[in-house]
Symmetry: C2
Subunit: 744 residues, 2 copies
Amino acid sequence: MASTSSLTLSQALVARAISHHHGSNSSSSSTLSLPTFSGLKSSPAKPSTRLLHRSRRSAGASRPVRASVAEPATVGKTTDTSLVEKSVNTIRFLAIDAVEKANSGHPGLPMGCAPMGHILYDEIMRYNPKNPYWFNRDRFVLSAGHGCMLQYALLHLAGYDSVQEDDLKNFRQWGSRTPGHPEHFETPGVEVTTGPLGQGIANAVGLALAEKHLAARFNKPDSEIVDHYTYVILGDGCQMEGISNEASSLAAHWGLGKLIAFYDDNHISIDGDTEIAFTESVDTRFEGLGWHVIWVKNGNTGYDEIRAAIQEAKAVKDKPTLIKVTTTIGYGSPNKANSYSVHGSALGAKEVDATRKNLAWPFEPFHVPEDVKKHWSRHVPKGSALEAEWNAKFAAYEKKYKEEAAELKSIITGELPAGWEKALPTYTPESPADATRNLSQQCLNALAKVLPGFLGGSADLASSNMTLLKMFGDFQKGTPEERNLRFGVREHGMGAICNGIVLHSPGLIPYNATFFVFTDYMRAAIRISALGEAGVIYVMTHDSIGLGEDGPTHQPIEHLASFRAMPNILMLRPADGNETAGAYKVAVKNRKRPSILALSRQKLPHLAGTSVEGVEKGGYIVSDNSSGNKPDVILVGTGSELEIAYKAGEELRKEGKAVRVVSFISWELFDEQSDAYKESVLPAAVTARVSIEAGSTFGWEKIVGSKGKAIGIDRFGASAPAGRIYKEFGLTVEAVIAAAKEVS
Amino acid sequence: MASTSSLTLSQALVARAISHHHGSNSSSSSTLSLPTFSGLKSSPAKPSTRLLHRSRRSAGASRPVRASVAEPATVGKTTDTSLVEKSVNTIRFLAIDAVEKANSGHPGLPMGCAPMGHILYDEIMRYNPKNPYWFNRDRFVLSAGHGCMLQYALLHLAGYDSVQEDDLKNFRQWGSRTPGHPEHFETPGVEVTTGPLGQGIANAVGLALAEKHLAARFNKPDSEIVDHYTYVILGDGCQMEGISNEASSLAAHWGLGKLIAFYDDNHISIDGDTEIAFTESVDTRFEGLGWHVIWVKNGNTGYDEIRAAIQEAKAVKDKPTLIKVTTTIGYGSPNKANSYSVHGSALGAKEVDATRKNLAWPFEPFHVPEDVKKHWSRHVPKGSALEAEWNAKFAAYEKKYKEEAAELKSIITGELPAGWEKALPTYTPESPADATRNLSQQCLNALAKVLPGFLGGSADLASSNMTLLKMFGDFQKGTPEERNLRFGVREHGMGAICNGIVLHSPGLIPYNATFFVFTDYMRAAIRISALGEAGVIYVMTHDSIGLGEDGPTHQPIEHLASFRAMPNILMLRPADGNETAGAYKVAVKNRKRPSILALSRQKLPHLAGTSVEGVEKGGYIVSDNSSGNKPDVILVGTGSELEIAYKAGEELRKEGKAVRVVSFISWELFDEQSDAYKESVLPAAVTARVSIEAGSTFGWEKIVGSKGKAIGIDRFGASAPAGRIYKEFGLTVEAVIAAAKEVS
């Protein structure tokens, strides 16, 4: 075959170029497991243009990026090219037809990426269509989520029950399993929820991290019980997003060698040619980040190039690999290919016809040719066999390594060890006053002892967030069995990486941390946790003006309200030790709902009356001297202001008032209680209510009603010692007492 | 001088290396205005280690980065080294002493960056201390905002009134002008508000963009009336944040040659050595982005190296320059330098003493030696002279180029042309139904005709956000006079760049755009707009489930509430043409408060009763058949749901009800109205109220009260045609009618 021999030639030339550069120490090699791509620099001799190419639009230093080289010895081609092409065109037309029927969607990416998609799902990836949750499957993430018809077509061909012909026909319709972007909670076989650009590659970093961590902890010299790859396709849009750079920097730092990313280099984004806003050299940037970089010049029909690139990527064990695959968006469409018009709209009947003619596709919409169907049909038995083989392996492992197997099983199934919550510390009013961030650290360390899948870290604030697990070291390239993650100052990447970790295995429970105000940097990832039912634990310290001198850029004001408004997330603001422990109990239990813990920098006393059980109800009575559920006034506080409400209650009682003090740690949990319980805490007849919280009063009318008063902060903060700001902002016992008298 | 001669030698060697690499076409050159740094590659000959260095911890391809080379001919050293060192130590000790007195703050960066700070403010930058707002001043941004004592010390030495000795002594105290991070609204001389990492470099890109744009529009062959540099210092933390990569990619794409960034490469972040989380090659990444990169190896005492790097940077006109300055954090502290302990805490009395001894600093706290004071005293007269010179230049310009001068003056002063608002379109109920995103485009184009400082663009969604200005081309490297900004898919960078633009000159009015849900990607920048009184206009389309098929990842739910809770920002959700025009009127007028316009993808009718005047009040009556301010029921809607409320009102009136329909386009503006006005719209006695909005009901209790009903969406959205989702979610005329009957 012509392509093979020219590729063999290329291979030899590459080896020569390398040996020239490396000098006499490096002998000409015929294998392709090159140490790192970075060894390849331009040599004084004019390079073969077949080997060394310049990025089409490299604005920066234009450095040569080597095209991938086929490796005939290791590539097992399972079928002839014409059938591959037929399969690839099947994928293209399933995407075209589904978008056309919905008259909505993104045909361009699936048409361009069908070849790499085909090779991944048909030749490379190990999975079991009949059990999309098989633990040791290869993971695939479509970071460019708008191209979801690519993934739906592949899942359909591979035999997943979740995407049948009717599902393709119901693309983007109410109640379908094929929504407009990949949603793992709707479509088994989809690993993570993508669409908001850049997040998928970060999710993939989390998945690959999880694999590396579990492999390091559980693999034995005689049994690689954890062993899979993570593949991801990302586009120009993903590359432009800052989050992808954050996560990619960490992926290289951590040496995630089993992460293989395909960059769909199609030069088109919604506004047109990427020339108008994206002229950097992505290759050079990724080399700077520490990735192995390969360029597949012909992603449209260069099947062998793609195959070779994957083999090369697999051979590089210590670095993630970026395979830049140059494709034509909307490949096959005679009039719309290579233009933004094919990105996000149906082709239209006329162009669909023209594309059918152009690609010589005589079939009806949604038709899968018999030979293609037959070819793909092997994946169901093959997948079952793979899983059965692994199950047998695990059974053997279990016999030999009982303890490890039990731990791993708990991680795989998500079954928490019985009585885990007993590990959480308890406190009394006599316990020394402490910041809830410190109490949080006690909880984190207690949980790490009993929860095998508990791991996490901070965005360069471990010593401020108090998130280090003392019995573990750092998860690093050389110590992946450890559990302290060091994210650097990369909040957005951190959140999305944790989404990947938690979705890798039900028993992995990642937490992450920064200052509460910097949830603004990672809000898009937090929202995906909430939407994607990913029980990440967000440990957010410095939760109010109580942080003091750092000032308004660091003081959250609107953040509590902003998360209370977000669906499917628990916003918890504990007031002391028992409430912090309760918050962690809730957070660990809620595996399908993320939790945010807002924690104080400043010391707080342990209050009589707080409890884990109370926390689980969201709002509860902390102290009360009324009878018949008829207090004169109800004082409501959260977090560090519960103490203020508590003290105000004591003062008012001295004056003869019947005062109820309520902790409102989680609005969401309170909302879920019975009407009777709610009435027992906040009786409708008692309209004299005062709330105090060092944050926006927005939303508090719901609790205090139109006759009550909400004390809070409806301006930005200030730089000064915390006590002074509290006083200047009127968050004081005196203010609560005055308000209570005003409303009652 | 030894350093000079060795640098001259270096220069010659560099020239030789270049000529070798470039081959015979490139002749040996003795000048340093090299075309681009990218020309420098490793040559086969072993490079001189004096010239070619490897990054200490380069994980990726380790590429040689050339150290800066002094240029004796152009560097005007204004003083002898001992006085420079004394001035540098003054800066160090002002920072040490202020942090010590406050017992709070970050001494490490000022101690390490004092040399580059000194050179910038004493030798390089053009500014007028007595008029911090002089238009043509060089801009300086401390992206690593925690090191603000560096800037305060420099402003103090330079003679700014805003930072006097007492201000230094009141560092981080209530009411002081020296808050814990730089806040431009507190401290004249500070250009932008920083602290949240990574945003400052993006602000600087905006400042440099503004300069390039205005220079292209207003400079004449005989008069460079706009001509300044933008300098920025960023640290490891800034480099890790994704936003800095986004903005830096754009800076190179746009060819912002007058942007010069100092990367304080000190290897330390809060959690310790950057080795634990940040091992990429920043140099290589920036070369990939298209920057000119220089490495100053000795940032602690290498004054000539720093000077030479700046000269070299200035000589590179077509690219921004990153000067990597390797420094020691906390330089001078014998026991804490080069450790995280000096990053964010006071040194402590003992270590302050030790540092005084170590740096031979015999002075009292806050003392500025007389010779240093005298040396710096020239900046007040020099600054006045610079401004006077420019004023004279402008006077001449004004005579010759009357029209341009008037436009530029309007941009400099922020005075809007009289009657500008008359340009906004008006609509009647007979105008064709249209999406508010399209009506928005009509407003944008109308405003661009009358507002000389109006410019903006979208994060790769111009054709969906409808934000193109039709009479202008794209702002690009070669066409910087144009006004359509192409941000690519970089929302966070976009927001922070616009903060830089709007803070460059009061008359610059930038808008930016993406889908409303993706405000999550840029929320940290939006918050800085609000805190920093930066009147950026956020054009956010696809504002609800009304976008349909893209599904829940793209459908905002909690976003309206989340911004209503944020201080100092206007959240506007117009319902039709007149409301869209009104929203723009409000947004343009509010130069110290950012505005977010939430706009529909779907068509909406123009309703009778909507008005610009109504919009300005935030909430107002659109239709009413009641009398005596006693309607049976009040129906409240916003944006696309106002139509539903409106129609429900019509139906209910047919049944004999007295119904008031209220548009609630901006809660913030309504809050600012008189009690009498509020009572005229929402009379306290009328508790029968129903609201409808396609978003979270969180917060609506404030409007509808405990007896009213809020119809909204308290779950995530769904992928389906918009009409179907509205129906399934119960956002219908029928639902409003039913609720109205229930509550009245």
